[in-house]
């Protein structure tokens, strides 16, 4: 770049004063905004006492919860103070009433071996002595002196408490040894009993067996066909509750659909009276616009809580809450859409002597209907997402079920199942709505092109 003389610089400055002599608020605005944001963030740190909260939070739970989304565990317990050692499984264990897993081995001398991860991670024990094997190390634990005693060095994956030895083996599980019992937790990848629960006669059968039973097997339950029985068993699976989950999911979809559609139907005529360029009275326009603002500003939560009290919990309350909020939202966007129309078609129809309704029908509606439908679809899409969450306050649908499954912090696999279903529904509805809106925007585009051509 050629060097500029001082005069050239001055002349440029004189020719473009708006670049060099900007008003103070423009020069210092960004800096002020930046400082303000920074100060606000410091305030927020203090307000939420963020450092303290983060310091005291249990981050070690996060990987634990996340593994529970896609895995399940079995927890056999062995009492050592009984005459004979027998494994005991908790009630409603994923293995059913007669568990006999091949990773619990009863040895010839009365001792037990539990293989948590093949031979590499296992525990072998009798009433006096336990041997824990993991990470290439073998750790003997003596149980005779009234408390568990580890002979030799204690590796870092074992925690020796006063009355209990805890051996952590990573994802696959852990072993807890006390003087009178051995507790094992073995973790499996996947979802247990997703199709049939342990009460079902089809439980534990391979897919081939189930199919052949359904096709040609003898009736497992007299009076019902095997197909109907299998369907009923899946639908009423006690652990996964497919039937209930799917019904609740449908409720959520219905809530969003019904609320948005009814909101649109009510907002549509009102919008004509609220639009400044169409309404017969300015006062009416103002009243209606404030009414829309009111319906929007009374939060969907407030509506949901009120209607839950009025109608009782369920999708009716949720639909009504979305309906009331949507009257406000759609009324606002419809009337704004009407205020942005081109007035010429309307004047044209008016000049033919048509009455009020005909003017709206042929002069206004062809222009706004595609826009209205597009905006309604957009709201429908966003309400499908929002309907999940108002369900959690009792307004019906899958939200409450999700919330209850989460509250115990033990059903994370069920939570994940529902999340996957919700994601699927949102994905499908997004695509439907996007497809329809693309078709419509082509209509709008064509309309604008024809108008432009005609001037």
């Amino acid at each position: 770049m050629a060097t500029m003389t001082a005069e050239e610089m001055l002349s440029i400055e004189a020719r473009h004063p708006q670049v060099f002599r900007r008003p103070a608020y423009k020069r210092f605005g960004p800096l002020l905004l930046f400082t303000g944001t920074l100060l606000y963030l410091v305030y927020a740190l203090w307000f939420f006492s963020l450092p303290q909260v983060l310091w005291e939070s249990h981050w070690e739970r996060l990987p634990l919860f996340l593994t529970q989304w896609i895995s399940y565990d079995l927890q056999p317990e062995f009492r050592l103070d009984q005459p004979e050692i027998t494994p005991k499984y908790p009630r409603f264990s994923a293995l059913g009433d007669n568990p006999n897993p091949d990773w619990v081995i009863k040895n010839a001398d009365g001792s037990f071996t539990v293989r948590i991860d093949g031979r590499a991670k296992s525990v072998t024990f009798d009433k006096t002595y336990a041997t824990i094997v993991a990470h290439g190390q073998t750790v003997p634990v003596a149980l005779t002196s009234g408390k568990p005693v580890i002979t030799g060095p204690v590796p870092n994956w074992i925690t020796a408490h006063d009355d209990e030895v805890v051996a952590k083996m990573g994802f696959v599980g852990e072993v807890r040894v006390t003087v009178d019992r051995v507790k094992v937790r073995k973790r499996f990848l996947g979802w247990a009993n997703f199709v049939f629960d342990t009460r079902s006669p089809f439980f534990g059968k391979s897919a081939g067996e189930v199919i052949s039973l359904v096709m040609s097997g003898p009736e497992l339950k007299p009076g019902t066909s095997n197909l109907a029985l299998a369907g009923d068993n899946i639908w009423n699976n006690a652990q996964w509750q497919h039937g209930d989950v799917w019904t609740k999911l449908l409720q959520t979809i219905v809530m969003a659909f019904l609320g948005t559609l009814l909101g649109g139907i009510v907002a549509f005529p009102l919008a004509f009276f609220a639009a400044r360029n169409i309404t017969p009275s300015g006062v009416l326009s103002q009243v209606l616009k404030r009414f829309f603002d009111f319906m929007r500003s009374v939060d969907m939560l407030i509506w949901a809580l009120f209607f839950t009290r009025a109608f009782g919990p369920g999708p009716l309350a949720g639909s009504a809450a979305i309906f009331f909020t949507e009257i406000g939202t759609l009324g606002k966007v419809y009337s704004e859409g009407l205020e942005n129309i081109d007035d010429k078609p309307r004047e044209g129809v008016l000049s033919t002597g048509a009455n009020g309704i005909l003017v709206q029908r042929y002069g206004v509606m062809p222009e706004v209907i595609p826009v209205f439908i597009s905006q309604t679809l957009y709201q429908w899409e966003s309400n499908t997402r929002g309907a999940t969450i108002i369900g959690a306050v009792g307004a019906g649908g899958i939200g409450l079920k999700l919330w209850e499954a989460m509250r115990t912090n033990s059903n994370w696999a069920n939570v994940f199942y529902m999340v996957l279903l919700i994601l699927l529904v949102v994905f499908i509805f997004d695509n439907i709505s996007n497809f329809l809106r693309r078709r419509l925007s082509r209509t709008i585009h064509d309309y604008n092109r024809i108008q432009a051509k005609q001037g």
């Binding site: 939420f48 009111f294 939560l301 009025a310 019906g396």
Partner: protein, 318 residues
């Protein structure tokens, strides 16, 4: 509309016939579509009514009954509840223990409980919008077709943002509530993650519609990707970005109230408690405060957006 054809020429007849055929076909489609929608609506209504605890027509005559608890015995109690002033009705019950929640700041000067809760809710919304904005801006430049540094990276970021947008906020809030053990932080994380996805999508759609000449100019002088984004693209899109972020603040205030009601703290939780126990004066005070706050935030944000990008800020979805 009908066309009256007086000219007897064959061509006119043909045109008129074609027109008639077309309109009757369109009318048929319209009737079919509306009929289908009506059927879907009626069956949905039936389904919602069946699944509900109380049925529509059973409850309709009593719809206003439940409002009777809402009307306080003394309207002044609403103001007292709002500003934590002792009520003459206070006998130690939860319904009228207004001064209990005072948050003392300096000596005898206090912030009323509900204002403090409202502040929490608004702060949750602001901080989570900020998180959304900070992450959505770089993501949006990667995800825009015309600006992306690499197509594969674009796809990854786009899918990631889609996932964040669709993932139910309530699950993230529940998960983090078990980890950080206080509601508002979990709510911030949940709404913040959602905002990244939501803002990111709007932002990259803006980015895909920018004027590329500034970008080409900077490419010609050898600017790298960051310089191009910073000096050619960002100045074009920033007003729109800020406008959408303000819109997001409005949405997030509502989201933070709702998350609050399911355990995220703030005013939502108090409102849910108050309604479920039938505390008339407290409920009215809370509704009044929430309504006013949301109204003010909406109006302020609308005014600011109008100043920033003009009427364009109010065209949505089309």
């Amino acid at each position: 509309m009908t066309l009256s054809v007086t000219a007897a020429s064959g061509a006119t007849h043909q045109t008129a016939d074609a027109w008639r055929r077309q309109t009757s076909l369109r009318r048929l489609y319209t009737v079919l579509g509306v009929g289908l929608l009506l059927a879907a609506m009626l069956s949905s209504m039936w389904f919602a009514d069946e699944a509900n605890a109380g049925h529509f027509f059973d409850r309709l005559p009593h719809i206003l009954d439940f409002l009777s608890w809402l009307v306080p015995k003394d309207w002044n109690d609403v103001w007292r509840a709002l500003f934590d002033i002792a009520s003459p009705r206070d006998t130690g019950t939860q319904e009228f223990n207004f001064p209990l929640g005072r948050v003392y700041v300096w000596g005898g000067f206090y912030v009323p409980e509900y204002f403090e809760l409202m502040l929490t809710t608004v702060n949750v919304a602001l901080v989570s919008t900020f998180i959304g904005f900070i992450f959505a801006v770089p993501f949006s430049f990667i995800a825009a077709r015309n600006l992306t540094p690499h197509p594969a990276l674009r796809l990854v970021v786009k899918r990631f943002m889609e996932l964040l947008r669709a993932f139910p906020e309530i699950v993230i809030a529940g998960l983090f509530a078990a980890i950080v053990s206080t509601g508002p932080i979990a709510a911030i994380i949940a709404i913040g993650l959602h905002s990244i996805g939501a803002l990111g999508k709007l932002f990259y759609e803006i980015n895909e519609n920018i004027d590329m000449r500034a970008e080409e100019g900077l490419t010609a002088v050898g600017a790298n990707w960051f310089e191009r984004v910073r000096f050619a693209d960002l100045p074009q899109v920033l007003p729109n970005f800020v406008s959408y972020t303000l819109l997001r603040v409005e949405i997030n205030v509502r989201a933070s109230t709702i998350i609050g009601a399911v355990g995220g703290g703030g005013i939502g939780e108090e409102l849910k408690l108050s309604i479920s126990r039938g505390f008339g004066a407290k409920t009215l005070a809370l509704v009044l405060l929430l309504f006013t706050t949301i109204f003010i935030i909406d109006q302020f944000s609308a005014w600011l957006r109008r100043k920033l990008v003009g009427e364009q800020a109010f065209m949505m979805g089309s």
